[in-house]
Subunit: 212 residues, 2 copies
């Protein structure tokens, strides 16, 4: 698939899963793409755990469903009503979870480029996730990133040691269709912002750039 | 360009810049791709500042060159010698800097999916950077991510307010060629790791997956 088509089609998937996990071939291409990401000091600090076990996914879903309540309690009436219509996860329906972690020890104690910015390792893991996501799109596989969880809970659930930090639970599976409008926009939660580019400094000339 | 070709060709650029910044059209496509990234709660929390001014880039380069010394002092003799042969930035040679920031205020105080994981906003910015990087590759434009700097210095240099955190300085420009082997591998700093995928839990079956 053309890169620009993949960028345009890429969607955060929630409601469209059919329950069928991706084929082994598609999954391998997604993970291989993730592994091709750039990384600080070539540390390649990503960890991938695939979760197919239904019991584990049910436990995680139960945990995740306590968090929307916490979040909803911080909203006023109208926003709470809007939020209640939004599906926040497809953990069980997707058929496969991929837990992505950050291992701070893959490149020893001295990581080139990470001494001044500790989070640079975490950034590398995110680049890998975006590669995975784009290839999933090219393979016709849906991906939804769940962030309604507590890190300690997920770390415990999949047995991460102390030096591995959870970064994402990705719901991964075949989809009936890819929606053309993001869920949060469709449900009236939040719209697309204009793309603003500032010249020379934050207070410099700010141009709005077309994204079409 | 095909997505898989872009993934395979994508390189961290340092030594190959010709001094010519990208065309306005290529730059617009890169930024538009970044803006298409998924983001937590649809917060779209990225900030882009383009820096063409040579004086600003020289000041930043000077700052950046104090950090390799700090890093080198933590290395033993052999590693220090290896490190001394590695080019860590192309700030002036590239012709254009893009400073990418994270604005934690773009979606108000209640960001859907960010209440439990504060760093999720930062993750969204990284996804945008990877989109930009892949489109740069498709456009024949080189990108190098500099992480040898102190965040406070860069924030001050480009006038970021307190709610905007610097995430990256990207060196962006036309390149004479894209190397086939990553710099850090070529210079003997660090090699490619195998791709390991663990099943069900961190201590579960660990398979090595082909990345070809």
């Amino acid at each position: 698939m053309d890169l620009y088509d993949a960028l345009a089609l890429r969607r955060d998937t929630r409601a469209e899963f059919t329950g069928v996990p991706p084929s082994d071939e598609a999954l391998q291409r997604m993970l291989a793409a993730a592994h091709r990401a750039p990384s600080v000091g070539m540390s390649q600090p990503w960890v991938f755990v695939t979760v197919r076990d239904l019991a584990t996914r049910r436990v995680f879903r139960e945990h995740v469903h306590t968090e929307p309540e916490v979040f909803a309690s911080s909203l006023d009436g109208e926003r709470a009503a809007t939020f209640s219509g939004i599906k926040v996860e497809g953990i069980v329906e997707s058929g496969l979870g991929i837990v992505v972690g950050y291992d701070s020890t893959t490149a020893g104690a001295q990581v080139l480029g990470r001494h001044a910015i500790a989070d640079a390792g975490l950034y590398s893991v995110c680049l890998a996730i975006q590669n995975l996501w784009l290839v999933a799109t090219a393979e016709g596989v849906g991906v939804g990133w769940v962030s309604f969880y507590r890190e300690a809970f997920l770390a415990d659930l999949v047995g991460f040691p102390a030096h591995v930090r959870p970064v994402a639970w990705l719901c991964v599976g075949e989809v009936a269709e890819l929606p053309t409008v993001p869920d949060l926009e469709r449900f009236g939660w939040r719209g697309r912002r204009p793309l603003v580019v500032r010249e020379e400094s934050y207070d410099g000339v700010a141009r709005t750039v077309s994204v079409d």
